[in-house]
Symmetry: C2
Subunit: 339 residues, 2 copies
């Protein structure tokens, strides 16, 4: 019952030709007669032959696979990114190895090693809390970081203009007459978060608002503990109600937090946007199901994805000129019901 998988050798025997000839027709590389071609193709179909990728990779020192390190697939922005990256690479004949690091340092390291051992042709690293420093990884394999900085000179950076987005949101809130404005952040120290905070500060300053008008608070509880976060946010809201006049203005660092703000507002019987105005970030799917629907900053996922795949493919093809690039993608303000 040990039907070993059919190999190129078997096909060769069946067709009465050599393995090299079979290889030639498979890869359409070199010369062979039309007649043998047909015979080989037929046998391949009949015996359901499939190239053994491991063997091919070993021989070619090229896997036609690219690795993707993602911090959290449950985050819709990331899963969207990954899904579309996957689609682009698939079209180009590349398979993708998606690795969810759970924002864990050790898992990231393990995955990095695993991917290198698998001879990936390229690497995409999405977000993450520290800089990406690929000491462990062969410097010859091209890598692109999305929303993650790196000290390494041959790593390309691609990311949204988070600073611009934060300025747009802040300006909108100021224009709507809500000062002071609370920036409600998470406590993750990822680079996009830092950029957004900076954008907020720059915009406040450029509109000549005092330091008293800037308030930044970081949600401490983890997003998996949604009840705890709700409690935390309600308490923040209550404090604001005590200290200032309506309407309250909040710039939330993400749509998740913005959504939680809307829920807390309902519980405190605050009317949005009359009593409280809030803007999120990302245009996550939840934005449209909040009540009212969230005003938010949309990242241009498709452009990020397209730039990333085009560039990485070029780098894999050996075009070294483009390394050390930095691409910043514009964002848009989506006006809905919370301002």
């Amino acid at each position: 019952m040990n039907t070993r998988k059919v190999s190129i050798k078997d096909i060769a025997k069946i067709c009465g030709v050599s393995v090299s000839t079979v290889s030639r027709v498979i890869n359409n590389n070199g010369r062979f007669s039309e007649e043998t071609r047909q015979r080989v193709v037929k046998a391949i179909k009949k015996y359901n032959y499939k190239t053994n990728t491991a063997a091919k990779t070993l021989r070619m020192q090229k896997s036609n696979a690219i690795g993707i390190l993602v911090p959290d697939l449950a985050n819709s922005f990331f899963s969207n990114l990954v899904e579309n990256l996957e689609k682009n690479f698939f079209i180009k004949g590349y398979s993708t190895m998606i690795c969810d690091t759970g924002r864990d340092k050790d898992r990231e390291l393990t995955y990095l090693k695993m991917l290198e051992a698998k001879v990936v042709d390229g690497l995409i690293v999405i977000s993450g809390s520290r800089k990406y420093n690929p000491d462990i990884i062969d410097p010859k394999i091209p890598v692109i970081c999305i929303d993650r900085s790196s000290d390494s000179p041959n790593v390309t950076y691609i990311g949204s203009n988070h600073e611009q987005g934060a300025r747009m949101a802040t300006a909108k809130l100021i224009e709507a007459g809500t000062t002071p404005i609370l920036l409600c952040s998470s406590n993750q120290k990822i680079s996009s978060t830092k950029d957004r905070i900076r954008g907020y500060q720059i915009e406040m300053k450029s509109q000549h608002l005092s330091d008293n008008d800037c308030k930044i608070v970081a949600i401490k509880s983890h997003k998996s503990n949604i009840d705890q976060r709700g409690i935390e946010i309600r308490s923040i809201l209550r404090n604001m109600l005590n200290e200032q006049n309506l309407p309250i203005g909040i710039f939330a660092i993400s749509d998740t937090i913005a959504a939680e703000v809307t829920v807390a507002a309902h519980e405190l019987e605050l009317n949005i946007p009359r009593d409280l105005k809030v803007i999120g970030f990302d245009d996550a799917p939840i934005a449209k199901y909040c009540y009212p629907q969230l005003t938010t900053i949309r990242q241009n996922t498709q452009e990020i994805v397209d730039k990333t795949s085009t560039l990485l493919l070029q780098m894999i093809q050996g075009d070294n000129s483009i390394r050390q690039n930095r691409e910043i993608i514009d964002v848009d303000l989506i006006e809905r019901g919370t301002v």
Copy 2:
């Protein structure tokens, strides 16, 4: 500048031993002196040696990789499933190849072939519109289907008790005094959807309700076209308002649709749960951000994931007794604000 990656041969040379000895040390397999062990381990660290997976896979006819076919990573239920599967397999030393088929038949086929060519040790197929029929795939590789039926005798099925969930939702709505009850479905013919529809029908019948009390409608527009879906749902709601008294009862086949029902209700100025009661399915993240928060049926993702990984690993280890299994996982009614 061609620093070829360091191989087992290089390590052997450096340590003044043979490749077989190095291999023995690496895999802790066979005998070697403590002294050589230390030398080898040191060299491996110093030269940052990493096993070439392709070579190992080729030699061992085993990849320590498992393939996952998922219809849509942007769906939170699926991404959750995948994320947790990944975590489990990672712990056991298996890497996962996540393939998003976009519910496309051809892409699914291509991926299936690709995965087999990669010598995956096992396969997980999640949902999908047709039955899973693995003619193309080597029958020796173990496969588990989640929420997807198959005619093949050596495919294991694992899935939630969708029928039970639908009955619970329907019963709850009846108990809350809303008849007739509208079942608001998508137009995807996946097996879990069918089970839920059947559960609704069975429960209606068992409560001696007439055919007039059963109304099933399928949303036609694709979920990517969210505006169109909104229009469709509002028109459905308006029809119901014309034909029956308040409160209206809706069992939505998914939380996405339930969420859209809440949005449409706000636009029509219907109060939930006073004028309209709705129950969703899945307990997706959006459920908690709707207003009011969605009452829904929760699938036990963790149990599905654990059962799947345990079983697949057993099958990979050669335990054939468990093939052709069928595991049905209980679901829970989560009561929140929409009933």
